[in-house]
Symmetry: D2
Subunit: 343 residues, 4 copies
């Protein structure tokens, strides 16, 4: 059994990791940390886990965590980088769900995240955990930087077009809508039900932290500079991301459809829908799937890619477990073959 630790077990990505790992046949969750809830039973905070998790929240200390084979960081940004080096030195694999190791440029990271990076040397070792792009590197990695939720939906949506140089990369648009769980489990006015229920808005149009991550990812694939306008929105639901992607593409829709189907044919978690479909976030709710469909309105040059995921699963905890499965030589979909909760 793989012994797994979760640092930051009280946020939504933490409890989602617990939901998935509790039923993982090859994993035993041996440590769950929470500074604020140390000493409390995990299932006292999360009654949904009663009967499935026997753990008690402990302090996030290296000495405790080194007994794990792998440690997941489901923490706010800036925490994983404080402990990763020590854990790696002691032979513990690290899967970071936060943003600490996502950007390859430490300067850029500091600019967007408002703090110095404490272990910039580690950044180069970190593998960006998008299995559909980096599967082989992930298998050999000790440190994984799990992609953000928006970056997952957007990159999977643009990938085949960029890899094949079939789109004008100067003017890409990603109009993306997220459920409120993406904002995390934090006591904040802005995500109260009275504030976000029955309402819709864009936010951070001037610049969102996921922008440099997406651009970095797209440029790696496109092998050239990319111009992206990224507008995130908050939609009145709990789970789900819907990316509506626009670009000027060459070629007929039939060809693009074939391109996508081929590219993702052997991927367990990326599902290209029949042409003309409209993916619905509910159809991936609670599952690790990304569903994609393609349109070319009025037969023009503009291609529209619709890409949906569950932000807490494929956009966070599910993808993290997918990475772990790869790192430990397990079947990639272990504990992840669950069906979306519809309705």
């Amino acid at each position: 059994m793989i012994r797994a630790g979760i640092v930051g077990g009280t946020g939504y990505t933490g409890v989602e990791l617990l939901r998935i790992l509790a039923l993982h046949t090859e994993v035993e969750v041996s440590v769950v940390t929470s500074r604020s809830d140390t000493g409390l039973r995990v299932d006292a905070l999360y009654p949904s886990l009663r009967g499935y998790i026997d753990a008690v929240f402990s302090l996030p200390e290296v000495e405790t965590l080194v007994e794990c084979d792998v440690v997941f960081f489901a923490t706010p940004n800036g925490t994983a980088m404080l402990m990763a080096e020590q854990l790696l030195a002691r032979g513990v694999k690290v899967i970071d769900l936060s943003a600490d190791f996502r950007l390859k440029d430490a300067q850029e990271w500091s600019k967007w995240y408002g703090m110095e990076h404490v272990c910039p040397d580690l950044i180069a070792d970190a593998v960006y955990g998008l299995p559909e792009l980096n599967r082989e590197a992930i298998k050999k990695a000790d440190l994984i930087a799990c992609p953000g939720c928006y970056p997952t939906a957007v990159q999977l949506g643009f990938l085949p077009l960029l890899e094949n140089d079939r789109i004008d990369v100067k003017h890409l648009i990603a109009d993306v809508k997220s459920g409120v769980s993406g904002a995390g489990r934090k006591a904040e006015l802005a995500t109260l039900m009275s504030e976000t229920g029955e309402s819709f808005k864009a936010y951070a149009v001037g610049g969102h932290r996921h922008l440099p991550e997406i651009v970095q990812g797209l440029e790696l694939v496109a092998r050239k500079s990319v111009g992206l306008t990224f507008v995130p929105h908050l939609t009145p639901m709990i789970r789900g991301i819907h990316a509506t992607l626009y670009g000027q593409a060459q070629g007929k829709l039939d060809d693009v459809q074939a391109l996508y189907e081929q590219r993702y044919a052997s991927e367990s978690f990326v599902d290209v829908l029949p042409q003309g479909s409209h993916p619905d976030t509910r159809n991936v709710r609670g599952s690790n799937n990304c569903q994609i469909s393609l349109h070319q309105p009025q037969g023009g040059q503009t291609i529209v890619v619709l890409s949906v995921i569950d932000n807490l699963v494929k956009g966070a905890a599910g993808q993290a477990v997918q990475n772990m499965n790869l790192m430990f030589g397990l079947k990639e979909d272990l504990a992840l073959k669950t069906i979306a909760l519809y309705p």
Copy 2:
């Protein structure tokens, strides 16, 4: 492998059966019928099932269904009774999620359901599929009448008090709130999002079809006549039932708490929360669990039982599979050990 058929695969209980059975290691779903969608792939109607179900909707015909070991009826009331006799005669076990065999009195049934019962003789053979009450009978049954969603939440909530004669059965109150999926997948004004979102109301206060079913169940346990006021409400969410039960009880809350914990100690799917808790429907969403807590406000005589389930799982498809597991000698919780989707 058990070959299972689902009649009425296009409603919410039907698709929920598919979600559960698709991952059941001992079951193969061999027939899924739908009069309106015959010929269509199941996953074309329900993209959430893509990759999990390979079936095509067929017509609901006995000759096709007899190839199954068990047939689930996830149909409107009045359909199962038309086919059950023939299927049973051919050795097929029948699990009815509709109301056709729930009431032991065919006259009473006709009164509430507005039609003649076509096979009243079968009613006596039907076992009421509440495993916590009828486990041994279910194991031997060929025909199961699955309890309604409200009756499940209410009966599990009152059971220990009634079995032990600890409550005044003359004046029971069940104030119950349901998510809108309980109304089914039907094109109706009343359950449009514009009608039910952001609003709350009681309905059918004058008399709801689940009233005689609940009373029948409570009286069987209490072994006397029961006076129940049952008020169902529609709450603006999709899944979940919350029953708030009131009665005049004898004894201290500590004793009642002990009674409940003892009664349900060996039940996999009924979870008595610590005293003073408030169960939340989200903590059972998508799971087969019933969570119960007990209160005695101001130390008075009135006991308040809070009982929550997911109406589509423990209140319908999950309980149906639990019954099937029992009927076929399988582990009772097979395919049902899933954790609620929180948040």
Copy 3:
């Protein structure tokens, strides 16, 4: 023009007062205070008010407020009692939307609100601002204690039965459901959309602060001791309260219906629906109305009263303005003749 001040203008009852008073033809909102947002334009915080309110948040100081004819306190409990005496002494009328002057027994108040009452002598002078009960006293009052949201819905629902001694007051039950705006505009985990959306729960079953207020009100009307079980619930919507009230009543439903219709015949804001109706909170959303309907299930002794209000209007700001209209000799429904926002 009446000059009105609002202390605590940044909470939901505060902004609701602004919404109503901005269009009140006899009122000019001259002071809006907020400790946290002093100096900020009111419509910068609340863009819904752009074009309607020209005020800037100021500090809550007596010297500023004495220039008003009336001051509304839309503050957390414990604030109004600090300033009311000084304002009254300077001839300013005070309408308190918080709980500071609701309970007539200062000891009881301290027990439930966890602090000493700083001006217990004022309590006797305060008139409980339920116009349907205390209209004449309100007209002459200088200090109004506006009823809580739950107490408004419950008292209006029980009033005619109690006034006419037509119900067994020993065993009343109030099962009440509230939208989340009732919890106020506070950064708290429990009312995040991810926590309260798509979920339903009871809370404070052991004892809610509105319990003594309701009991005090019911006993005044019944002129005897009342036994009440009060269970509040949180329902996943923003506005609205639905009270489901149970009691053992004498007499036929027709008579009770007539009783209610007669009692409320001349009330602008209490509307008795036709027998057999089910009021829906959406039909009073944004309006100052209370809609009530009556049932006697199965013709038994138990009467069920359904009573709905908008917790922020009839349950708070609307009722406060109704009181103000009475206190200043204006038409009672001035600025309150607005129609519920459906759908």
Copy 4:
């Protein structure tokens, strides 16, 4: 008093007209028609209107309607064109909230609406009822074609840029999100709460009926051919439209901001928010306002316009009344000075 008739009073735009007109000081609603509910009191169907509307639904007949000064059509497409000619001939002004007279090209109309136009000659007389564009023509009009909800939000958002030739009209993108009330009050599976709650999707990406209307409007203003990609989405809320508009613009954001502020300075219902703002649909819910803000992410060439309205008010009934006020020489904002319902 102006006598107004409403044909199709049972849909959401019909009941919204009633909500507004019931409080209009210069209007008396004298006829409300409904084929399906003839003979029923209007407030029996819509209890929110109890006390405000005394009318009974009647059959939609010309002889009854000619007694009105103005008739609103809140009907499905294809109905207004059957009666408009007769009413106009009898001196009755007609305000059509449906699409019958929106497109100037009858052939194009037939293509998108799937039926022949029965009075193509009237199309030329119809004035497109966007007051911010056509105020003077509206004042003199007898027949108004009220804009669709999406077209209103998109056109108001693009107008100043197009009028001043400051944007590349070849590649405009309108990514628009609508609440579900936009789908109308029809018994349909797709808009059940269980289907649309907690989920987000695009629809009609291949071509939505509002596309030709928007293009026609933009081209009129731009005085040249326009290339628009329009993608509508369904968002899990009842009211509200959020348009996110993209284009390649010349000039600095400061200048564009000034342009918008100037263009809409004297408009009562279009409100340009401070630079950097993010309008939220809740801030216009129930009001006739359009709130707009402007962004130029990363100081690039792409301009992002955010434009929000309430689809049932400024997107339908409110705008219709605004048109009526203009047609009858009344103050343009009569009965429309209501504040959005927040929260």
